[in-house]
């Protein structure tokens, strides 16, 4: 009794009071659905009531095997990989470059460029998708422009399975680079200007300032940006849904769209869709751990 009283201190009570609501919310909206999704992926559930349904049986990892055997899963995974590559190696470096150029006032009218680079982020993704779909249409402005340059040119971008995703990657780069630019710009402003000034007085070049001061100081922010880019890439859905619907022949599909197709398009296959979502969660964890590991090994200190 005394031990309980000893444990139940005011400090612990305050701690629990502060933490429990957040834990409860997290469990309700994040952890529980993930665990429940995993359980459903092991069953034969295909609609109707979930509890007390005699038709639901445990089927083990059947749906995971089915998923790995499906060619559209690998197409979607490959496209997610490409989007991730564009996000991590395209959006982040470009975002940083723009932020650096604007912050160091290497161009005039910095505010103007900041606004136009960020502008795509404030337009609805569905509208952006529709606009670019029209732009890249075989009857759209892109085709007409190319035909001006090269008469008789046929817009076959979407017909080559290796090229079909290219217009989407371009739009992703155009749309989200501004977000990273803003993140980097905000953090660049936190670096003490006296530090840079001192380095310049000591004879450091602009390149040395960038490599020796700016980048190490921002390594934590770069990791955060990478995590955002990876998670954003894995949940890519709305833009592709509006722009291509995953077609032609599912060649521009991604995991989220592939999951959605199995859950809601045509005949529902909920356990398979849940298996895909569990795979996406595990992939996210693995990739984020990889980024953390890379930062711990090679990153600088802020």
């Amino acid at each position: 009794m005394k031990r309980v009283a000893h444990w139940w201190t005011e400090e612990r009570r305050a701690y629990l009071l502060l933490v429990l609501p957040a834990v409860a919310v997290y469990w309700a909206v994040m952890a529980f659905p993930t665990v429940f999704s995993f359980i459903l992926s092991l069953t034969s559930y295909n609609g109707g009531p979930i509890f007390n349904n005699p038709n639901i049986q445990l089927v083990g990892f059947t749906h995971y095997i089915r998923m790995f055997k499906d060619q559209y899963f690998w197409i979607s995974l490959k496209n997610n990989g490409l989007i991730m590559a564009v996000s991590v190696f395209g959006q982040i470096p470009l975002g940083f470059l723009f932020a650096y150029v604007i912050h160091r006032k290497l161009v005039r009218f910095g505010d103007f460029f900041q606004t136009i680079i960020y502008l795509p982020c404030v337009i609805s993704t569905i509208i952006v998708g529709r606009l670019w779909q029209s732009f890249f249409s075989p009857y759209g402005p892109f085709t007409e422009f190319m035909q001006k340059l090269q008469p008789g040119w046929e817009n076959e971008l979407f017909f080559d399975p290796n090229l079909a995703i290219l217009p989407v990657l371009f739009v992703i780069l155009w749309m989200y680079t501004g977000t990273y630019m803003i993140i980097f710009l905000a953090n660049l402003q936190k670096i003490d200007p006296a530090l840079i000034e001192a380095a310049r007085i000591d004879g450091a070049t602009e390149w040395q300032v960038l490599i020796r001061i700016m980048l190490p100081a921002l390594s934590g922010v770069i990791v955060t940006a990478c995590i955002l880019a990876i998670s954003g890439s894995l949940k890519s859905f709305d833009l592709l849904y509006a722009m291509t619907g995953g077609n032609p022949a599912r060649r521009t599909s991604v995991l989220a769209l592939y999951m959605y197709d199995n859950a809601f398009r045509h005949s529902p296959k909920y356990p398979l869709a849940n298996a895909i979502s569990v795979f996406m969660v595990l992939l996210s964890f693995a990739l984020i751990l990889m980024v953390r590991f890379t930062e711990a090994k090679f990153g600088g200190r802020e």
């Binding site: 109707g48 009531p49 029209s134 399975p161 077609n247 809601f264 045509h266 005949s267 296959k269 909920y270």
Partner: protein, 436 residues
């Protein structure tokens, strides 16, 4: 004293005027509705005013909570509601196809007992049993999923005339290409379009419903020569230049403007596409103005070599509204839901749909003298059809026709052969059949 009693009387009158009508009036009934509605269609405003607003005026005791969705989002929401066992009280449905599970799982009621003597106002054919073996939705029309739309002046300007056979159509291709035109337009970025609007017609011509029913019964296979030959004919259309791979990069909405502006003399789509070309009552504008509508014709695809059905088109009994089977029989909610369903297929609404979308009425007592030329053409178009065959997604489950939908795009892009698509479809069918 008089003043006091007058005030008391006035107060009593006021209180009574508030409460008495409420107690005498019918108890309000709330019904939820999932409606399939294209808010951008030219007839949208008339539908809102003359269908939904008018119903609420006529039935103040029925409170309709309506959710409007269109194309894929509608189907996906329906699946989500069905999976969660929370289907709305009244739901827009197909007689099979994407709504098959609503029929076969008994999620909606048999409407025939509720229809009673009112059946006399409907064409006998539209009241036939649907996918679940009963009248799950009260159809508003008959629908042809295939129609060949023709731009007559464009054809004439090139010295061409309507082809009667596929060979004649192929002969036109070089002339059209030389003039920078496509032969047939389709908005087939969504994968259902080719299957529903073109391939089902080809299957009807080359395979026939009997064979399809044998496949459905497990007595024949998709890999049999008849079905494979239908896929091969479809593949041949790309080789002949009749179809171009561009159709799979053209969205379903984009094709309307392309056809109206003469990018090709032909377009293939369902007969419902007509509604996109009619006059928008709110703006008075139309993609094809009334004065030009007589220049456009609707017909069926020319004769295909080896066809067993001549002048056939694929079609289904039309869409309509069904009622959630969980609604208690004889309840006020059932009466309210049935009142709405009856209204939605009543003479006023069917007349409005005929005028705004050219929807052929399922009732025998509906006509109008305010039809645009393209609506009249849609009615005439049915005279061209000698045989109506099945639409593939109306008789097979989603997991069976999905490999066909994707496979048709893959054939067009050269990613798969007809036999590979047939084999994949058969495998999907075998999986489904084994579970029945």
């Amino acid at each position: 004293m008089l003043k006091k009693s007058s005030l008391l009387l006035l107060a009593l009158f006021l209180v009574a005027s508030v409460f008495v009508p409420a107690t005498l009036a019918e108890e309000p009934v709330r019904i939820s509705v999932l409606n399939y509605f294209d808010l951008t269609s030219p007839g949208a405003e008339r539908e809102l005013n003359e269908v939904w607003y008018e119903f609420s005026i006529r039935n103040p005791h029925i409170i309709v909570e309506r959710e409007d969705l269109f194309l894929e989002p509608f189907h996906q929401k329906t699946e989500a509601y069905a999976a969660a066992d929370r289907l709305p009280d009244v739901i827009y449905m197909w007689p099979g196809g994407r709504s098959t599970s609503l029929h076969t799982l008994g999620l909606v009621k048999d409407l025939r007992p509720l229809l009673g003597d009112d059946a006399q106002y409907y064409q006998e054919a539209v009241l036939a049993p649907q996918a679940g073996g009963y009248l799950a939705e009260l159809p508003q029309t008959m629908t042809s999923s295939h129609a060949l739309y023709v731009n007559l002046p464009l054809l004439e300007s090139l010295g061409l005339s309507m082809p009667k056979t596929y060979e004649e159509l192929v002969e036109m291709v070089p002339v059209l290409q030389a003039n920078g035109l496509d032969t047939i337009l389709m908005g087939a970025q969504d994968d259902w379009v080719i299957q529903s609007c073109l391939f089902s017609m080809i299957v009807g011509r080359l395979v026939g419903d009997d064979k399809l029913n044998e496949i459905l019964a497990g007595e024949a296979k998709f890999t049999d020569p008849e079905f494979v030959s239908a896929l091969e004919f479809y593949a041949q259309m790309y080789e002949d230049g009749v179809l171009h791979r561009k159709i799979m990069q053209t969205s379903y909405a984009e094709v309307n403007g392309l056809f109206a502006t003469g990018r090709a003399p032909f377009m293939i789509d369902g007969d419902w596409k007509v509604s996109n070309f009619l006059t928008d009552q709110t703006t008075g504008e139309a993609l094809i103005p009334v004065g030009r509508q007589h220049e456009f014709m609707m017909t069926i695809f020319p004769a295909i070599p080896g066809e067993i059905n001549t002048a056939s088109s694929s079609g289904v009994v039309g869409v309509g509204f069904g009622m959630n089977s969980k609604i208690e029989a004889g309840s006020a909610k059932e009466a309210a839901a049935w009142e709405l369903i009856k209204w939605l297929q009543g003479p006023e609404v069917q007349k409005m749909r005929l005028e705004t979308a050219g929807t052929i009425p399922s009732r025998v007592d509906v006509t109008s003298d305010q039809l645009e030329p393209l609506v009249v053409e849609r009615i005439r178009y049915y005279e061209d059809i000698l045989v109506t065959t099945e639409v593939i997604d109306n008789i097979f489950e989603g997991e069976v026709y999905t490999p066909i939908n994707i496979g048709l795009q893959e054939i067009g892009l050269g990613f798969a052969t007809p036999m590979e698509v047939a084999q994949r479809t058969q495998e999907a069918f075998d999986d489904w059949f084994a579970r029945q």
